[in-house]
Symmetry: C2
Subunit: 248 residues, 2 copies
């Protein structure tokens, strides 16, 4: 079946099962090989790339719909997921589905609720569904062009990470259980969008007393093996409640 016929064949079922007007888009971040990456997909008939998303069932809480969509798209449900903004511009999806009939489900006006997720690569499956030709991780430094307003949704998610860095467990959810100090600093630099002084960063992050220095170091490599750390989850959560304090 060609793509147009596939989309059209699903329209009636969508009208029956989902509440109108509302969609969900997920910005799934991962910190991998010292770059911040985002999971994006290519719909078969769109020029730009898109964020994984979906709709809300008639008998479903909106937050539960986000969890379900994430699971359908990645096979995972136990990852950090947070609503961050709702996108409601009248013309936000104007250019998509132009060649379809006006009564197509996908061509209706949708206001989209944005959720961001924080995950490790290894925890997610990349599920290429029947609408998509590709699902890939891309570094935020090197993104392709996007369909509809999905680039603006992604940028707003990034801005939210930056604002919430001192109040939400963002480092904890993006880093592996054991990490080195340079990895932690790199993550902060990417989210804050600026270089940080190494000495200042170490002093500040250690002063919060939220890290545990492990009795092991990373193997391999010609250089001195770097020390490994993990978060002291109890102290970390207590510190986030008040907000981690200090400029970076």
């Amino acid at each position: 079946m060609d793509f147009k016929k596939l989309i059209e064949s699903r329209s009636e079922e969508h009208f029956k099962n989902y509440i109108p007007t509302l969609s969900i888009d997920c910005v799934i971040f991962s910190f991998h090989e010292t770059t911040l990456q985002v999971l994006i997909l290519k719909m078969k008939d769109q020029y730009g790339w898109g964020l994984p998303g979906g709709y809300v069932k008639k008998e479903e809480n909106v937050d539960d719909a986000a969890v379900r969509i994430l699971k359908e798209r990645t096979g995972t449900e136990n990852i950090y997921l947070q609503q961050f903004y709702t996108f409601g511009n009248l013309k936000r999806s104007e250019s998509a589905f132009e060649e379809y009939s006006d009564d197509l489900w996908h061509k209706q006006r949708f206001v989209s609720i944005g959720y961001y997720a924080l995950a490790e690569h290894s925890n997610l499956k990349l599920i290429v569904d029947e609408y998509s030709s590709a699902v890939e991780w891309h570094s935020i430094d090197n993104l392709p062009s996007f369909m509809m307003d999905h680039r603006a949704i992604l940028d707003k998610a990034l801005m939210t990470l930056r604002e919430q860095l001192n109040n939400h467990p963002i480092g904890y959810n993006l880093l592996p259980e054991k990490f080195t100090m340079p990895e932690l600093q790199k993550l902060y630099e990417i989210i804050l969008g600026k270089k940080l002084n190494r000495g200042n960063f170490y002093r500040k992050i250690l002063r919060f007393d939220i890290l545990i220095k492990l009795d092991e170091s990373r193997k391999g490599g010609a250089h001195k093996a770097p020390d490994l750390y993990s978060f002291d989850l109890e102290k970390y959560n207590a510190a986030l409640k008040d907000g981690l304090q200090g400029s970076w």
Copy 2:
């Protein structure tokens, strides 16, 4: 016309003019006589109080709808308005409109986008519309019971103020142009939900270099007239961009 007939008479027009499924609720804060107050209203046939709200027109951006609703409810449009969360629980409005027919507009499932506004009492008119029996400012320390999930929406707005205090111009938009240091401290205490040490607070807020000490003091009262301050808007906005730094 009694209230039930009034609501029923508007249903058809609402289906025609507004997009389905979506509503907007506004949490309008004001700092008045050293208390943080919120504007709430009493709908004629509901037991609990409610937040001022409305719907999104078919040919209207969601953010523009929030501005329009605020203007219809308060006569004002130039106040600080910020979307903060979208509330989508299936049963959020279950108890309202129970005695009405299932095809009534108001009885449909609505997912509500929350906006908070920051304003001065004197800038707002309290408009009692045909659906309401009262519109009042209430201190957040002394709130009545609410209809639907409006108390949860209000609490989430307050939590957002707390998280955004160091990144958004909340002090500037809640205080009058000229204010005393005790007033500023009181506002921070209410939003943060804790007493602050006077000396520490003064030192910290002055160190940010975001205030201008005015060459005047407040008249009246038996005590020494307190100094007046205002925000240095340029420095304040620059500081917020990085985030005001330091624990309170």
